[in-house]
């Protein structure tokens, strides 16, 4: 009904529209312009700027509407006849613009919006050329907003887009207005600073220069720049964005539009992460360790060195002695070539893109349940779901744009259930239910939820259903809840909320869904017949897996045991592919210690810092005979490398990437690579030549051709990609796995520490992004009673002691944490080289925290 196609006439031209959509939207889509300020396709309609007034000559019933109507608030009706050029519309437009300009300062030459300003452009097109204003203009007192958003409120035209964005989309509600008439003042509340992680979007939507980008301020003019449009590559959501450059320098990033992924929003990490490209510890040229020090070398020298060392190891111990890790931060093409290099040139299947144990657990759980990774859900589905189950996910901190989609669904009436040790904040007033299990007991809480669902009538069906039904039947809800420390009543309520009749449910598993919880999330998705999304931290983990960076899977996700698949690879690459699975990232560390693996190739990853069992990993890296680090930024693993190869960042590379919903998007090079960095796929081809086993794919189209041959569903996307990308969905069918839950951990006394990723603090790229330094600093979060107990207030330093090491962090008092639980950002602790190992212990590590003596304040800036 709502999607019924109709046509109406605008200035004599036929315009197609969906019945009931705003006339303005249909006209703009058709390329007919009607001036507007307050209307925005992804915000609510308020019809208050009156710039869009049109004359409805026939309202579809043969009668004209006596007064002018706002096109943004006029629903399209079949047979309407509308004019935007009649004398009374002209008069109205001129009047509206005259009033808008009455108080608008004429400082376009100073204003950063100049050149891309809807007020400038529409004034030129629709307003009178002369001004009759002689009065003094209104002047507001100068205020600051945040490190990212620069206000100049004298320019504000009171369209309220910023207000509606913060209330509807972001939910923080920071913007509001005061006073009336032409004294109306838009601003933020004094006790509510603009700290939201999506705050930068107000810069994009403000139709004038009232809110501009503080970091981009005065650095360039829009007409001097060119932009590349494509997916953001800082997390696995892949929001569409525009990367702007002037000359060879990146200048800024603005949001692009993709209704299937990010609507028209991006997060501030995506907006400012580019600042890590030119800054920080970029690796600019190949390095070889000589006399214990890494020294600059040329590409041929470095490749020759690797070829010699690997060649010797291959001759002595065979391909199995070489392992490769990484690929989740690379394009599909480079990931494909990395796998091909290992399987074809080195004859090793030990290649794995899942460096973090969490990624390993989540992908293996998906393989067990569905036989493949990803493709079980969509981001758009999340936005229109009627029920959402969040498992170990705090989307505002991990994948901010997913948080906006969850909020969109909740605004549409969805029930949201969060299973997370913390009471996560989605800035929702209602509709969010928390089940807060003890850390590490998420799986038990999920099992309890499944049991409650079964009690409410949900029956598992399909493969493995009997086993699971049996497991549920024999489970005791109260015992499960007791062990997980959740309230059975709440579990039952959550189960009822998640089962709206016949409605779509989406399960979103975040970084907290580790080990058994990942498998249980898959079970719940099957039980609820829900879409399932796993939100990984590596931006292209999905693509890398599809390209075959898995010890037992070939490109296209075909198992290594499948002789036909191996033959296809041999046909494409030329060399035979071994049938025995290689070592996964979990097995590689022991193998290195035991000298079964002698050489390790690290491709765009940093296990020394990012692996939760840092000490064990570092020991293994120490034991490795030969380590190559192929990365864009210097990181903690650099200390163990014998050869270092420079890689471009994903802002500097052409290719394709695949996001967490398995959407393949085209990545365009925004600037040319810094220093001597060259595309990794090329580097692998050159390395193979140095090893005298040249790969066939020595050009990008050759790599793509091979990838198309071997990964069946990528054949289309890799040859022709539409702008919004292609989502490679899979059939939603899987098997229940009724694994027994590990015994409940005995109740732990004292304070436990959990690590959770914060998008702006993890990884060497975020660490070198200078503009991200203004995000909230890395902090130890404590519940108010725990903070009181140690006598530390907000911002005080605390000394964290864990496993014999200690570290100082500022304290953040966070009421979302239960008593006895502390949280620190993942990756950050470890990024301080030789940091703390906290993730190894299930259920968080026991930690001692005390208020630090005030005297020597160590600065631990995020």
């Amino acid at each position: 009904m709502a999607d019924q196609e109709i046509t109406f006439t605008l200035n004599g031209e036929a315009v197609a529209a969906k019945k009931g959509e705003p006339v303005l939207e249909a006209a703009l889509r058709r390329g007919l312009h009607i001036p507007h300020f307050c209307y925005h396709s992804y915000l609510s309609v308020v019809g208050q700027c009156r710039a869009c007034l049109v004359d409805v000559l026939d309202a579809g019933n043969g009668k004209p509407v006596p007064k002018l109507q706002p096109a943004c608030a006029t629903p399209a009706i079949q047979g309407m006849v509308i004019s935007t050029v009649s004398p009374r519309v002209k008069e109205a437009q001129e009047g509206v613009f005259e009033f808008l300009l009455k108080n608008h300062p004429l400082d376009c030459p100073v204003c950063d919006q100049g050149g891309e300003c809807p007020l400038q452009d529409q004034t030129m097109a629709y307003a009178k050329a002369v001004s009759r204003t002689h009065e003094l203009r209104r002047i507001y007192p100068r205020k600051e907003l945040s490190a990212y958003v620069k206000p100049e409120m004298n320019r504000c035209v009171h369209c309220t887009r910023c207000i509606r964005f913060t209330h509807e989309i972001d939910g923080g509600g920071e913007f509001g207005w005061a006073s009336r008439g032409d004294r109306t003042e838009v601003g933020i509340f004094e006790d509510l600073p603009l700290t939201s992680i999506v705050s930068g979007n107000v810069i994009d939507i403000c139709p004038v220069g009232a809110l501009t980008d503080n970091k981009y301020r005065f650095t360039a003019r829009v007409w001097e720049m060119a932009h590349a449009e494509g997916p953001c590559t800082l997390c696995s959501v892949g929001c569409r964005q525009r990367v702007w450059r002037a000359g060879d320098e990146l200048k800024r990033v603005t949001a692009g539009e993709n209704p299937a992924v990010n609507d028209a929003w991006i997060c501030d990490v995506g907006r400012y992460g580019w600042s890590g490209v030119h800054a920080g510890e970029r690796i600019l040229r190949p390095l070889i360790r000589r006399e214990g020090r890494l020294q600059p070398a040329s590409w041929p020298e470095a490749l020759g060195h690797i070829a010699r060392r690997l060649g010797a190891i291959l001759r002595e111990s065979g391909g199995g002695a070489v392992a490769g890790l990484g690929g989740a931060w690379a394009t599909n093409e480079s990931a494909f070539q990395f796998g091909a290099f290992f399987r074809e040139v080195l004859g090793s299947n030990s290649v794995d893109c899942r460096v973090h144990p969490r990624d390993l657990a989540q992908t293996e759980a998906q393989l067990a349940a569905f036989g493949a990774v990803g493709g079980q859900g969509s981001i758009a589905g999340l936005g229109r779901a009627k029920g959402i189950l969040l498992v170990g996910s705090d989307p505002f901190e991990e994948h901010p744009i997913l948080a906006l989609q969850v909020r969109k669904a909740a605004r549409g009436g969805a029930a949201v259930v969060s299973v997370h040790p913390r009471r996560i904040d989605l800035r929702l007033h209602s509709g969010l239910r928390h089940l807060c299990p003890l850390p590490g007991e998420e799986a038990r809480a999920l099992r309890a939820l499944a049991k409650a669902l079964a009690e409410a009538g949900a029956a598992p069906s399909g493969e493995g259903a009997e086993g699971y039904a049996h497991a549920l039947a024999s489970a005791d809800l109260d015992a499960l809840c007791r062990e997980a420390d959740i309230d059975p009543r709440e579990a039952r309520e959550a189960a009822r909320a998640l089962r709206p009749e016949g409605a779509e449910v989406v399960v979103l598993a975040g970084p907290g869904a580790q080990a058994e919880a990942a498998a249980e999330a898959a079970n719940l998705a099957l039980l609820l017949r829900a879409e399932l999304l796993f939100a990984s931290t590596g931006p292209n983990l999905q693509g890398a897996l599809d390209m075959g960076l898995h010890p037992a899977l070939l490109p296209g996700g075909r198992p290594l045991g499948d002789a036909a698949a191996r033959e296809a690879c041999q046909g494409a690459w030329g060399g035979p592919v071994g049938a025995a699975p290689g070592l996964s990232s979990a097995q590689v560390w022991d193998a290195l210690n035991e000298r079964r693996v002698r050489a390790l190739y690290l491709f765009g990853c940093d296990p020394a810092a990012e692996h939760p069992e840092g000490a064990r990993v570092r020991r293994a890296l120490e034991a490795a005979e030969f380590v190559v680090l192929h990365a864009s930024h210097a990181n903690a693993s650099l200390d163990y490398a014998e050869v270092v190869l420079p890689a471009p960042t994903l802002y500097e590379e052409e290719g394709s990437v695949t996001n967490l919903e398995r959407r393949v998007q085209r990545l365009r090079r925004a600037v040319k690579p810094l220093g001597e960095a060259r595309e990794p796929w090329r580097a692998f081809a050159e390395l193979s030549r140095a090893m005298e086993a040249p790969m066939r794919a020595h050009a990008l189209d050759r790599v793509r051709l091979q990838a198309r041959l071997l990964c069946a569903d990528y054949a289309g996307p890799l040859s022709r990609l539409p702008e919004e990308g292609v989502r490679l969905a899979r059939e939603r069918r899987g098997a229940f796995r009724a694994a027994a839950l590990p015994p409940a951990a005995p109740p732990a006394g004292g304070l436990r520490l959990i690590l959770a990723p914060a998008l702006w603090l993890s990884g060497s790229f975020a660490a070198s992004a200078v503009h991200l330094k203004d995000m909230p600093r890395a902090a130890l979060r404590l519940s108010p009673p725990d903070a009181d107990r140690i006598g530390a207030g907000e911002g005080d330093e605390a000394e964290v002691e864990l496993g014999g090491r200690s570290l100082r962090l500022p304290v953040r008092v966070d009421a979302s944490l239960p008593v006895g639980l502390a949280q620190a950002p993942e990756g950050y602790l470890a990024a301080l080289r030789g940091g703390l190992d906290a993730g190894a212990a299930r259920g968080g590590a026991a930690v001692k925290v005390r208020a630090a003596a005030a005297a020597p304040r160590v600065k631990v800036g995020g």
Partner: protein, 159 residues
């Protein structure tokens, strides 16, 4: 043939009666007409602040792309220009310039004008890259002929 010689001589004679047009340069110099487009000048306001606000419109208007501007934010305590923005770098490549005057026309504050100066030979090409210190006048009042030019334009004024 004789007639032609006579006609030539007549022409010569005629010109010897006319007033002289040759100027004894460099001892004598012509007065440049109003609107002459010579070497650029960057002007100041009466209070000494720079007029240029670093908006880059001149550089956008220039058909040969010979103006380079970099802008920066004024220090409110010691502003360089009126408004928040000023040109931290302003360079014109006078060898490339075709003296079309578009930059002057584009400038919303009457900062860049083409002056009367036409004598600017240099012995090296690099020296034709005129930086801000070469272009900026000390006091606009010293150039009454330029003041008249921007007074004719309707300029932006600042609060």
């Amino acid at each position: 043939m004789l007639a032609e010689i006579a006609r030539g001589l007549w022409l010569t004679l005629k010109h010897s009666w006319r007033s002289r047009v040759t100027v004894q340069y460099p001892d004598e110099r012509e007065e440049m007409p109003k609107g002459y487009r010579g070497l650029h000048k960057l002007l100041r306001w009466e209070d000494g602040l720079e007029r240029c606000v670093g908006c880059k419109l001149c550089s956008a208007a220039c058909p040969v792309d010979c103006i380079f501007v970099e802008s920066a934010e004024n220090d409110p305590a010691r502003p360089t220009s009126k408004g928040e923005r000023y040109a931290s770098v302003y360079e014109i490549n006078e060898l490339r310039c075709i003296f079309c005057g578009y930059c002057e026309e584009a400038c919303p504050v009457g900062a860049i004008v083409l002056g009367n100066e036409y004598e600017f030979c240099q012995d090296h090409r690099d020296k034709f890259l005129y930086a801000k210190r070469d272009l900026l006048v000390r006091r606009t009042e010293d150039y009454p002929e330029l003041k008249a030019r921007y007074d004719e334009k309707r300029l932006l004024t600042y609060v």
